[in-house]
């Protein structure tokens, strides 16, 4: 049997992720794709804990812990230093959660994108502030419970569309990915590695604790997100759209029903989510048609 995912592990065992953590898988695949010549810049996020407490580190590559809003700017500094020292073979990987990316970190990321700093920016998207105890972020989807959007006042309005925001910066590569599709993620990282500038990747990383599901369902739920098109898998490469279409598009209820964070939703509310999902999907396909 031919394995398509690199067998070599860089991420060490013994990290501190929760059981079934999507973010741990995401990093494992990212390091497989990028190899040892990588420097990680890590702001406040779950991964601050996952890597392990002093003096331990599970990443297997140099890692600099930085402040919440500085994944991109600190990464830009590391990249500047590598440029000065002529170390062109090293990849700078800024690795942040959705809060550190879409909320507090968006200014620095926008700045880095505009300047064309050479780094791969991965946002592992678990759709809330999981490290501080499941508070809503601007990536929390419509209808979701979080500890700051309680059932009676669940999150209203769509996720911030970060891939489009980044694509609007005219960066070379702005893509979504999912831990349920590692081959796709690894291939995208390998493309990103070859391109100059900010390469933005948003990988859906389900969180059993925050999304309220049994930890063995992580991959299944991530897969359903793609199959229901609630989290479409697509790329914007130099302005050209390419969308991955599921063989059988499933209803969003299949994705929602497995997760406690959506348990309170009525049939009508689920229909509303289905309608919005279909609309966004239609728009995306249209973009692919026009800009494919």
């Amino acid at each position: 049997m031919k394995l398509t995912i690199p067998e070599k592990e860089i991420l060490n065992p013994g990290h501190l992720a929760c059981q079934g953590c999507g973010a741990a898988l995401a990093m494992r695949y990212a390091l497989k794709a990028l190899g040892r010549k990588t420097i990680i810049v890590l702001p406040a996020c779950c991964w601050t804990v996952i890597d392990g407490p002093f003096p331990y580190s599970s990443a297997g590559v140099p890692l600099f812990h930085t402040a919440f809003e500085t994944a991109a700017s600190c990464g830009a500094g590391v990249n500047a230093a590598l440029e000065v020292k002529g170390k062109n073979e090293v990849t700078v990987l800024s690795w942040a959660g959705d809060g550190g990316t879409m909320d507090i970190g968006i200014q620095a990321l926008s700045g880095a994108a505009e300047r064309g700093d050479n780094l791969i920016y991965v946002c592992y998207d678990n759709e809330a502030y999981m490290n501080t105890g499941i508070q809503r972020s601007s990536s929390t989807p419509h209808g979701s419970w979080t500890s700051t959007t309680p059932v009676k006042a669940f999150k209203k309005g769509p996720k911030k569309n970060m891939i489009e925001i980044m694509a609007a910066h005219k960066i070379p590569y702005s893509v979504s990915a999912s831990i349920s599709h590692p081959e796709d993620f690894i291939a995208k990282l390998q493309i990103a590695k070859q391109l100059k500038g900010v390469k933005f990747m948003q990988i859906l990383s389900p969180c059993p604790a925050g999304w309220k599901y049994p930890s063995n369902l992580t991959v299944k739920i991530a897969k359903l997100a793609i199959e229901t098109c609630i989290f479409p898998l697509y790329e914007v490469k130099q302005g050209r759209y390419k969308v991955k279409k599921p063989a059988n598009k499933k209803p969003v209820s299949e994705y929602l029903k497995l997760q406690g964070r959506f348990r309170h939703l009525t049939g009508e509310e689920i229909d509303e989510i289905q309608k919005n999902t279909d609309q966004v999907w239609k728009e995306l396909l249209k973009k692919e048609k026009v800009f494919g």
């Binding site: 890597d51 580190s57 140099p62 600099f64 930085t66 500094g77 590391v78 500047a80 230093a81």
Partner: protein
């Protein structure tokens, strides 16, 4: 080489001859000229460095932190609101033990908007673990940036070189910009033992539980103590090689003084003139200029206080709800001493208000008479 330059350009030349490798900065009045000059130097190839034109001061220091962690000598400059915006990263730089050097052009905090001189911006950063130097002249600015790198890189702590808005930043003075070859001998290239290195992967700044955090802080405190000695040592060595001596403090006619003024920054020049004038009238006044605020020159202050009966501290800053910051620090240094002189605090020149020689002469006069002086704050020249 002698140049007739502003304080801001003195900063730019200081960074250049220190061979800063990564510069990241955001413009803010009155610091902008520093950034402009450095941009020119990098663009023309005169300075071989990477200049990151970032979108905020917070990002400027974050970029310097990344660059320094990856093994490059890093530099930034800011002022007032910009420094306040950076505050979080100031802690990050010292906590990560990165010897970044930053120039801060002392400017008042808003509102109301005010771009003129006032020390409250940098003194609010007192507890961030940065070495702080307050410069009197443009010459001292160039010289201090070179020394700041030398000291910082020895103790692994960042350093802030402070200059007064407009009084120094936009005023031209003749400055001897040291020769590159001589500076290279004085300041070897930055090659940290621990850095982000793919051949030796380490994680820096990760989670530390209460079992270890305390020791990390203790080590910073120890390094600050080491810096205390080094500032004098490096200042003397600089004197040997470049002919200009520096230390934690500068004493001016203080050996036989019965009344001593404690001052900092460019105000010191005016105060020296005031001391000269009252000396002519037969009064034995003297002056101490605090050059290094962190680490604080406790011993130097204590030695002086052994002789003088009265000390007057001039603060171009105010800690609301208490008093001038230098004043508090001076008193605190003297508390453990057997013989305690009378110490009076003067708050002067906030937001760039002119402090004239005759104002300081009056202060010295009042220190002799000890009349009309309040024990904590004396506001000088306040409009009724």
């Amino acid at each position: 080489m002698k140049k007739f330059i502003t304080g801001n350009h003195a900063v730019s030349f200081g960074a250049k001859i220190s061979r800063a490798e990564v510069i990241a900065a955001y413009p803010i009045t009155p610091q902008t000229e520093i950034v402009e000059k450095l941009s020119e130097m990098v663009a023309s190839g005169e300075l071989k460095a990477k200049f990151a034109k970032v979108e905020s001061e917070h990002s400027a220091l974050a970029a310097c932190i990344g660059a320094s962690a990856a093994g490059c000598r890093s530099f930034t400059a800011t002022s007032s609101q910009g420094l306040a915006l950076m505050h979080e990263m100031l802690h990050w730089a010292s906590g990560a033990r990165l010897p970044i050097v930053m120039a801060n052009v002392n400017r008042a905090m808003a509102p109301p908007w005010n771009v003129w001189s006032d020390q409250t911006d940098s003194l609010a950063q007192r507890d961030t673990g940065w070495i702080q130097f307050y410069c009197e002249s443009n010459q001292e600015i160039v010289d201090t940036i070179i020394q700041a790198y030398r000291i910082s890189e020895k103790v692994n702590l960042p350093a802030m070189v402070v200059l007064d808005a407009f009084i120094l930043s936009h005023t031209s003075e003749p400055v001897d910009v040291p020769e590159q070859k001589k500076v290279d001998r004085f300041l070897p290239s930055y090659d940290p033992k621990y850095k982000l290195d793919i051949d030796q992967p380490h994680a820096f700044g990760g989670l530390v539980n209460p079992e270890w955090y305390y020791e990390f802080r203790y080590k910073i405190a120890c390094s600050m103590e080491e810096a205390r000695g080094l500032i004098n040592e490096v200042g003397k060595e600089f004197g040997k090689q470049f002919g200009r001596n520096y230390g934690l403090v500068e004493k001016y006619r203080s050996n036989d003084a019965d009344v001593i003024l404690v001052v900092s920054g460019s105000l010191s020049s005016t105060a020296k003139e005031a001391v000269d004038r009252v000396r002519k009238k037969g009064r034995k006044a003297g002056l101490v200029r605090i050059r290094a605020f962190r680490p604080f020159p406790k011993e130097e202050i204590r030695k002086l206080a052994k002789k003088a009966g009265v000390i007057g501290v001039l603060d171009r800053n105010i800690s609301f709800g208490n008093e001038g910051i230098f004043f508090s620090e001076i008193k605190s240094a003297l508390y453990s001493q057997k013989r305690k002189p009378l110490v009076y605090g003067f708050v002067v020149g906030l937001g760039g208000r002119d402090v004239r020689c005759k104002d300081i002469e009056k202060m010295i006069d009042s220190l002799y008479k000890k009349q009309g002086l309040k024990k904590d704050i004396n506001w000088i020249g306040l409009k009724k």
